[in-house]
Point group: C2
Chain length 131, copies 2
Amino acid sequence: MSAHSDEQALEEGSSFAPKFDANGLIVCVTVEAATREVLMVAYMNQLALDKTIETGVAHYWSRSRQSLWRKGDTSGQVQKVVSLSVDCDQDALLLAVEPGGDGKACHTGRKSCFYRTLETEDGARRLVFRS
Amino acid sequence: MSAHSDEQALEEGSSFAPKFDANGLIVCVTVEAATREVLMVAYMNQLALDKTIETGVAHYWSRSRQSLWRKGDTSGQVQKVVSLSVDCDQDALLLAVEPGGDGKACHTGRKSCFYRTLETEDGARRLVFRS
């Protein structure tokens, strides 16, 4: 196939062909299905993706621990998959989940990992807590 | 500082200290501010991040073209920044924007890049268009 028809198939086809990077990983944005709030950004390798699809529960690849990570194994914050989407060029995943346990996703004890927002004043940058 | 106090400062401090990867990039999830819909996932380097903060308009780093990319320069789909958040360990950004032009973000002509969702049947995987 030409580069163009490859791209066409990737973007407009029904084949699920996630593109893993040089480290064998694909980025995954996880949102709460009910509110669409972005909870976290993590990574999956082929194994984590397969486990997620087969079990219906989010699995990630921990880059720091270099191991498969079933979200919630220690925290109880298991994430039940509601839907899994892929972007146009299939190098990013969007996972909509029902969070279990206390409903939180962040290891700091917050619902979302994105709890700080940038503010600038006279060019100085600082983070402000929003939750 | 100890590793623990470093981590504490990174996660609980007000210092904006985005962690760029080995390629000098940080992943950015861009959502529509009004609806919180995830529009796209892209990457920023230090330059793109600085331009985004200084101009109030989303700039990314194109990995395929290896160049700074002011979103909307060719499409008119300029993204006005409403807020910029960072995750707990500061290796991912969340940008909330007001999309300009026709309000779309994806180069395929769709509002969001995440227009296909995975379905499985008897273990077979295929993508279904949802928009």
